[in-house]
């Protein structure tokens, strides 16, 4: 089914969105994760993504299948980019189509949250100062209460105005 996949080049959101089309869908919700210029007080200049692909695609497919079981949506797809990314590049795209908007938002949120926590993907931040570090791996000795959740995106939700949602 390939409802979770990797790409080494820019994510083609127009093509991805077409895969969600369904006559019974009244709209779709998408999430884009972008490369941000800072994290935990440090200036980031680029990110490097790496994945254990054989297992990552299996785990990603399981997440999308979970979402389709939990929420009454039509279709869902997640595409994650790997390799070297610059600022504002899109690292991940999630799209969900459904008859009504509520479950599409819920399923989209579920998928991105689970992908961040479960799929074997790693990112290395390169800093303006010249050094670099693997996120969640090299500052694990951070003091208690220090957030381990490193968000790397700004949110954008799309939904056609003409939908019956």
């Amino acid at each position: 089914m390939m409802r979770f996949r990797f790409t080494q080049t820019a994510i083609d959101t127009a093509q991805a969105r077409r895969e969600l089309l369904d006559l019974g869908a009244g709209g779709y919700v998408s999430f884009e994760g972008w490369v941000r210029d800072h994290n935990e007080g440090r200036e980031v200049t680029r990110l490097e993504y790496e994945a254990f692909q054989e297992l990552a695609v299996k785990e990603g497919e399981r997440i999308v299948a979970d979402a389709l079981r939990r929420f009454p949506v039509k279709h869902a797809l997640c595409i994650h980019r790997i390799g070297l990314l610059g600022l504002s590049d899109m690292a991940v795209w999630v799209g969900v189509s459904s008859a009504h908007r509520g479950e599409a938002f819920d399923a989209c949120r579920f998928i991105i949250d689970e992908v961040k926590h479960r799929v074997p993907i790693w990112k290395k931040e390169h800093y303006r100062s010249g050094d670099s570090g693997w996120v969640n791996c090299e500052r694990c000795a951070a003091p208690p209460g220090h957030a381990h959740e490193h968000e790397h995106e700004h949110e954008r939700h799309d939904e056609p105005a003409a939908g019956h949602s």
């Binding site: 994760g33 994945a51 994650h80 991105i112 479960r118 074997p120 694990c140």
Partner: protein
């Protein structure tokens, strides 16, 4: 017994390689991690990792068999 080990991210850099075939007496992934952590001075503790055998998540106490492919999985950071 011979095992195939693949390394990713921080562990790939610390091991200085992305994979190797290893002759080992380690019977479980937990034993194997102990052996390799000593050899490569991995900074992550086993409690911070997950492990996969033959491209599926595995228990640390699973009995390894000759030819198994083992991957230690550092804390993930997708998205």
């Amino acid at each position: 017994m011979q095992l195939k080990i693949q390394y990713y991210a921080l562990m790939r850099e610390q091991a200085g390689r992305s994979e190797e075939t290893l002759e080992t007496a380690s019977a479980t992934p937990a034993d194997l991690y102990g052996e390799l952590a000593t050899r490569y001075r991995f900074t992550l503790t086993r409690e911070q990792l997950k492990v996969a055998v033959n491209s599926e998540f595995s228990d640390w106490s699973r009995r390894l068999a000759a030819g198994d492919a083992v991957v230690f999985i550092p804390p993930v950071a997708g998205g």
